[in-house]
């Protein structure tokens, strides 16, 4: 099977940049001011992947537990930083701390279970499995938490009257936030669930496509994809649930009063 793989030369990949040129042309023509971000995204994607290619080659060729751990820590740090930057000025310091703990916490629970109990990788730090699967789980958890944070912040603003009414009637902060927590969780996991609904029918996921292209049998690629999708669902759900269960408290003070209510 390995012999069937069509190797891709850099000049062939360069041909794919024609898409960017066409889109650039359309943007110019329609006066849609997105040329800068298109170019930036294209350049960043290219550089980031090339660098990651070299780093992965280096790490896979020289496997070491500390190196694997370092990559995971960097991925988690980047994910946390991305969420914090996205909500710059809208998150309280305490809510930021909750993201800092729950995003890595929830992702790692799902990730370690999948790698050590489901796949049972050997050795335990095997970077060939650890790194790409971590990337998918952590990346999706980051998206889930981002949606959760967004819904929670918005609802504590536009449903302030409902939260206040509940407090006036003697609700605990947890009961007063019940509806907001549920809605935020729903918003956070919905993209993953939609993804699962369409998987294999509407689209073939990237990881599976990649494996099949590189010569892995479709049946094995599918088993991996099912496992990874469930691990992603776990990572998104655990991290978002943890975030929401702890995060709502940061909207209240020690006297169970809504912060900034007057």
């Amino acid at each position: 099977m390995e012999n069937d793989v069509i190797t891709l030369a850099p000049w062939q990949v360069a041909l794919a940049y024609l898409f960017v040129v066409v889109i650039l042309f359309i943007l110019r023509r329609r006066s849609i001011r997105r040329e800068k971000i298109l170019l930036l995204a294209t350049v960043r994607m290219t550089i980031q992947l090339i660098v990651m290619g070299y780093v992965l080659t280096l790490i896979i060729d020289n496997p070491h537990p500390l190196l694997t751990m370092l990559v995971i820590v960097l991925m988690l740090a980047f994910a946390v930083f991305t969420v914090l930057r996205r909500f710059k000025g809208r998150m309280s310091p305490s809510l930021k701390r909750v993201v800092l703990i729950t995003l890595p916490g929830g992702s790692l629970v799902a990730l370690l279970y999948f790698l050590f109990v489901v796949i049972r990788i050997e050795p335990f730090y095997n970077p060939q499995y650890f790194i790409p699967i971590s990337g998918m789980v952590i990346g999706n958890s980051m998206t889930g938490i981002t949606l959760g944070v967004n819904t929670m912040i918005n609802r504590f603003t536009d449903q302030k009257a409902a939260v206040m009414e509940a407090l006036h009637l003697g609700a605990t902060p947890r009961d007063a936030s019940h509806g907001i927590i549920n809605e935020a969780f729903d918003q956070a996991i919905m993209p993953t669930l939609n993804n699962m609904l369409g998987m294999g029918v509407i689209f073939l996921p990237g990881m599976m496509t990649g494996q099949i292209l590189s010569g892995v049998s479709p049946s094995l690629a599918i088993l991996y994809q099912i496992g990874v999708m469930l691990a992603i669902l776990g990572g998104v759900s655990f991290s978002t649930y943890l975030f929401l269960r702890v995060g709502y408290r940061t909207f209240f003070n020690r006297q169970a009063q809504l912060i900034g209510m007057d």
């Binding site: 206040m164 509940a166 407090l167 009637l169 003697g170 609700a171 006297q255």
Partner: protein, 214 residues
Amino acid sequence: MFELTDVVYRDVLRVDSMIIQAGSVTAVVGESGGGKSTLLKLLNKTLSPDKGSIRFEGEDLASRDSVTHRRRVVYLNQTPYLFPGTIRSNLQQGLFFQGRGEADQASLAAVLEEVGLDKSLDGDVKRLSGGERQRLALARVLLLGSDVLLLDEPSGALDDDSEDALLAMVVRLARERGKTLVMVTHSKAQARKHADHLFVVQRGRIEEVVSHGE
């Protein structure tokens, strides 16, 4: 029951001294934006004073558990929030928030009758008028049977006659059941008619002008 001393909340309200006795009916009147609602929220502990002390049954409010306190001292907002759903679900919601079981059909029907809301329990709250919404919110508070009722303009959306009837009903129920009632009203005449004690808030300061409860 409540004893306020040198209470300051931002530049909104200043109370040098105020005593609210258990089982009394107290009315608070004054200009809008003068701090009347703030006073009730301080008593309900959804706000805390910047300075001074509020004591409840001799205990400093700052050291009382807020949720336990609010379950005994319940506050009805001037523009109450009704949760999406039916009249029944809104009535039950208050009990849920207090960690209590559901009320039976007879209790729900009785409380609606008390507040003069002639609607089906299964009616959608979206279809209620301003006055009906206020009556439902009042019914939700009454159903809780809390020791202290803090009512912020409970009849603000009603015409004069309905307002008088509703206040008379609330005051009667409070007296019959031995509750302490503190209500904000825009009408000094209504306040004089129904309350034992009358406080006036002016430019953020509060003073007692009438006391004929004792």
